[in-house]
């Protein structure tokens, strides 16, 4: 089975800015592929290249085993996408918007089909309201309905939870899992939040400054055995000395501020118990994946200009 998406040495340069450099990755059938990177990392530029909105400066994109540049029409017929903000025709109703995009996607959608789709995203009652009256969450849901109306095999969601309230975020997450598990869709979802992606993606790529940092299965990247535990105590210096003498010695990783241990997440209760016995007064304990740790170090860096987001 060939991969659904194969990106090979893809680059895009805007004037002096290298938005995407030599990027390669593959998305396999049935994947929920997490596309991670901070704002301006090149996520949107890559997604726009996948959707033929932007022409690559160099490199190759194959989708469904076919070259995107030569089989554009055929490929796009099987893709549904929400690109950044779910902007739709404000002066038209939800129903009219959905109907327009169904027709453009080349399907003859009847009323029942359209209403079912709206029902699925919980907008059936507002089908005939103009989109300009919608909240951000409703627009997002309508955007997803538009992306799904032609029953695509590949779904691309660019920052689908942006601007949503917690309930909205949970709903989207639920929908993605449902599409993946029940309908067997391949989904590429981008986000600048690892916490978002780790709950849904089976494979993850992290890019920064247009370059791939890491790509792999979530299970491996987010292996509980590689959890970083950060401990804050009343006296870190004493605590670290004591821990260095205990069975936790091997797990201590160098840290300029605070105490950090790389260990299995399941061993945290043990660690706490031992610390109490060693009279270490714990103020806070925070487990983090190594990936998250790394990702955080990226995102706390000063941002550079995002070339594509508006």
């Amino acid at each position: 089975m060939p991969p659904i998406i194969t990106v090979h040495q893809l680059s895009k340069q805007f004037a002096e800015i290298h938005a995407v450099s030599d990027l390669s990755f593959t998305v396999n059938e049935g994947d929920v592929y997490g596309f991670l990177g901070q704002n301006g990392a090149g996520k949107s530029t890559t997604i726009r290249m996948l959707l033929t909105l932007i022409k690559p400066s160099s490199g190759q994109i194959k989708i469904f085993g076919k070259d995107l540049s030569t089989h554009r029409h055929e490929i796009l017929q099987k893709i549904g996408a929400v690109i950044e903000k779910p902007d739709l025709y404000k002066y038209l109703t939800a129903y009219q918007n959905l109907s327009i995009f169904a027709r453009i996607s080349g399907i003859k959608a009847n009323r029942t089909m359209l209403m079912n789709q709206l029902e699925q995203v919980g907008l059936a009652e507002r089908a005939h309201s103009k989109v300009k009256t919608f909240s951000q969450g409703m627009k997002q849901r309508l955007g997803i309905a538009v992306a799904l109306i032609h029953n695509p095999d590949l779904i691309i969601l660019d920052e689908p939870t942006n601007g949503l309230d917690p309930q909205g975020i949970a709903d989207i997450r639920q929908l993605i899992l449902q599409l993946s598990k029940e309908k067997g869709k391949t989904i590429l979802v981008s986000s600048h939040l690892l916490s978002e992606i780790e709950l849904i993606a089976n494979r993850i790529i992290i890019i920064d400054k247009g370059k791939k940092i890491v790509e792999g299965y979530s299970a491996e990247l987010l292996d509980p055995a590689k959890t970083i535990v950060q401990i804050e105590t009343t006296d870190n210096k004493v605590a670290i000395e004591q821990l260095a003498l205990s069975k936790w010695k091997e797990q201590i990783v160098s840290s300029p501020n605070g105490i950090r241990l790389q260990m299995n997440k399941n061993a945290i209760p043990d660690l706490v118990k031992d610390a109490v016995e060693m009279n270490i007064n714990i103020l806070a304990i925070q487990p983090r994946h190594s990936l998250e740790d790394y990702f955080l170090s990226l995102t706390t860096r000063p941002h550079h200009v995002d070339t594509t987001a508006n």
Binding site: R48, K55, R72, E84, D87, Y91
Partner: protein, 293 residues
């Protein structure tokens, strides 16, 4: 393509802005009609002041439906480009600023199709607009003012076209005006593909028309000889050519004739070439464009 055109039309005619143009035109024409109903004679006397000393005229007959329509078109057709630009300038850039362009361009339709569908939709809009003008300015004026011969005042002469020789000239004039307006639509569309907001292309289109018209009208030799022949505005007054009737050696008008037919055909050709060039450029630009909106 047909589906796409239907969708574009649906979008155009769902926008309140679209109807604004129709309302403005109706109000404008209505004002002229009322004005001419009250003061038409005075206006005719002004136009024909040079003639009044040597000739007797029946001013009541001079103000008729055909004359009113001619007057309306003289004043109105100069401004219709603004209304055309208002809709055509928004076609691509409006979607870019709204954010729907990226959805559209990520669909299994070619960019050429998108541009052509938009241009054809603009074509139907312009057609509806001119039909609306024709109904109100011609049909309505005829109903109110009746029909009679049409007196056309030119810079250095006056001519009279018999009532039964006029209607076809209006059809031709509206047809010509349509081509001229489609050039405006093509300019607006091209500018629209270059912009991410809709105000820019609309203002730029109107600006281009104003500047080109001024250069066309300026009687400065360098402009007259080297620039004017290449400006589209030079050819946009061509609709009037249908109301310049031909005459024989003795100065009698020849029914069904047009004085400068070759010039009109030349204008029409020039405008069609403009349309092909501009729409071609719009397609080219849009195909090359990275959609970042």
């Amino acid at each position: 393509m047909w589906t796409l055109l239907q969708i574009e039309l649906f979008k155009i005619f769902k926008k309140p802005r679209t109807y604004l143009a129709f309302a403005i035109i109706a109000a404008f024409i209505f004002l002229i009609q009322v004005g001419l109903m009250v003061n038409g004679k005075d206006w005719m006397k002004f136009i024909l002041a040079g003639l009044d000393e040597t000739m007797d005229m029946e001013y009541d007959k001079l103000i008729n439906g055909y004359a009113v329509c001619f007057f309306v078109l003289n004043l109105l057709l100069v401004h219709v480009p603004i209304l055309v630009a208002l809709v055509a300038g928004d076609l691509v850039s409006g979607e870019a600023s709204m954010g729907t362009l990226r959805l559209l361009a990520a669909k299994p339709i070619s960019r050429t199709q998108i541009i052509l569908a938009k241009y054809f939709a603009a074509g139907i809009y312009v057609f509806a607009l001119l039909l609306w003008i024709a109904i109100i300015s011609l049909v309505f004026s005829i109903a109110v003012f009746g029909v009679n011969d049409l007196v056309v005042a030119k810079q250095n002469g006056i001519q009279l076209i018999e009532a039964n020789d006029i209607l076809w000239r209006y059809f031709c004039a509206f047809g010509f005006a349509y081509i001229a307006m489609m050039v405006v639509a093509a300019i607006a569309l091209l500018l629209s593909t270059l912009s991410e907001n809709s105000i820019g292309p609309i203002v730029a289109t109107v600006g281009i028309i104003i500047v080109c018209t001024l250069v066309s009208e300026m009687e400065i030799p360098i402009y007259q000889h080297y620039i004017k022949p290449y400006l589209f505005t030079t050819y946009m007054l061509g609709w009037k050519g249908f109301f310049y009737i031909g005459s024989n050696a003795e100065g009698e008008t020849v029914k069904g004739s047009i004085e400068y037919l070759p010039a009109i055909l030349k204008s029409m050709t020039a405008l069609l070439l403009y349309i092909i060039g501009l729409v071609g450029a719009a397609v080219f630009v849009f195909r090359k464009k990275d959609i970042l909106s």
